[in-house]
Symmetry: C2
Amino acid sequence: MAAFPLIERSAYQSATSIDVARCAGVSQSTVSLVLSGKAQGRVSEATQERVRECARELCYLPNVAAQTLRLGTSRAVALLVPDVTNPFFSRVLRGAQRAAQAAGYTVALVDTGRGRWEEQSFQALRAGPVDGYLLFQVTPPDELARDERVVLIETEAPNRPSVRFDIDAGATAAFEHLVELGHRRIGHLAAAWDAPTFHAREAARRRVLGDAGIDPGEQPRVTTPIGIEDAHAAAGELLATEPTAVFCDDDFIAAGLYLAARDQGVRIPGELSVVGFDDMDFARVLEPALTTVALDGERLGETAFDLLEARLAGRKPRKRVVLPAELLVRDSTAAPRR
Amino acid sequence: MAAFPLIERSAYQSATSIDVARCAGVSQSTVSLVLSGKAQGRVSEATQERVRECARELCYLPNVAAQTLRLGTSRAVALLVPDVTNPFFSRVLRGAQRAAQAAGYTVALVDTGRGRWEEQSFQALRAGPVDGYLLFQVTPPDELARDERVVLIETEAPNRPSVRFDIDAGATAAFEHLVELGHRRIGHLAAAWDAPTFHAREAARRRVLGDAGIDPGEQPRVTTPIGIEDAHAAAGELLATEPTAVFCDDDFIAAGLYLAARDQGVRIPGELSVVGFDDMDFARVLEPALTTVALDGERLGETAFDLLEARLAGRKPRKRVVLPAELLVRDSTAAPRR
DNA sequence: GTATGTGCATAATACGTATGACGTACGGGA
DNA sequence: TCCCGTACGTCATACGTATTATGCACATAC
């Protein structure tokens, strides 16, 4: 017998409720009733036990595709992200995942490849396998823009449920911190990424500097892709303009700046103050420990899922949630020398 | 009309092939035939165009649950990981994701919560929504151990397809590097995690040190959870034994060691050489830049998916793949002082 | 005029589940 | 004897798709 691959193959094809029914000598309906716990008073206790026993023996597990088709729901949600390798996003995922698990949902992950999805990855998901969407820094295609099953993360659109950080407060605190230390020449090492979260940082910069009587248009500003090596190169360029402080859109960008400063023998914070954003794990290990704006990514993911789940359950929750962003002053910022 | 929510609701429920058929004045079979491209010579060109036009107009997308049920395949695979927040894993995910996308597959992500899944998360997946499994540092439950649809990543089991790094070569190179520099008191800051990848590091340590005439049992060794703050504490303890070099199971652990060394005024590499593992992004930004063993996580994920895909397609590929692990010597290692 | 194609499209079915509408047997009350 | 209630299950159907077998004209060949 062992020679017949068919024996082995039976392991692939899970038993169906019909197999269980045959085994227990009842109908398929009865099996379904019993195993879904809706057999109260309709099936005798003895029969129920027999069915459960057979199900156990045959390792029966309901076919999810069939369930989804029948019930019109898959208890799964999709999380769309522009780039899975961004470590900040893992926190969001973890939060969403945990909340989803608690609610009996599965999370399907899709990397949209920084906007290159243009319907593509999205098409793959629509109409079936998932009940809803969490869009992380992804602007929904028109089709989805009015869909009730979508929650926006770190993005907003008119009349859509969304979760985001109070980027404005965080960035404002960061720039005010630098101004209060006495800096007058404050650079901006900005992410070359067209997303609301970065627009908010830039807006805060213009406002705070303007209010302090510093012309924001006069301050050095260089954009760079998010990534240490890219930022390293861009930072070299920025340092040539001799700012006394630099606000970085991201901790990775700040790390690149550290490298450039090291190259040029510029001491932090003595000759250059640096502020990052996100509070990644490594921020406090940098030498000196990086002053940065802390964001609770897990809570972001968790909140987003809860919002979506409420929608799916027919409740109408608060439309927009704003989570705090807090400046963490460490050792990379100080008063300018002169 | 705008007052009727039913109008809006139509957006949720995607059009079915029957709707398209009605619109085009043909049968559902014809629609299916046309849209799946199997209508060659069976349906007139005019009708085909009409069907396609209707499908476009109604934004028709095939219901994936129905397709899965009918075809017995979902073109989706599950990636199971012990902890989504581990940044190393994001690389694996990205690699798997990219390969999957190219092959027309979707990746569903499941966080098993470090082994706490005990069938649980797994049950949720079996029998339906996915065609196969990628198990990253996760030991399969008995049920799955013989399943052909499983590929093991960074784990191995008898007669199972798997992908892993040549951890032994990497760790060996690292310890030999330290020995060659002249170190005789070499600590091990080890991950408190029962996984093959860490056993391999330990085995290499014992072998290399033994071969060099250094008793591995005499060398200081402390275990710690993976995470900078945990490692920081554990490293304090390790430094009390005054090693001249420390091998860390992970770059995050190495980062914790940097923190502890800074606390105690121990200079790297002058008084202490440090080697990490993984080559995380931040490794070369540390001061001094961290000597570490580089692993190509993306390639790991990619290879794993390809292996699984080959299985699913009925091909029988190489059972075990081993990817290189290469020592990257930077500035955190030097000869001991005396 | 009957067989033989051929070009075009449809009917019928199966995938595996959940569920509302029915059956059946039995015992008790009138 | 007839009717009804209850306890225990089953039947039939629908979800939306892919596919096999079948049908129907109409033209061609003999």
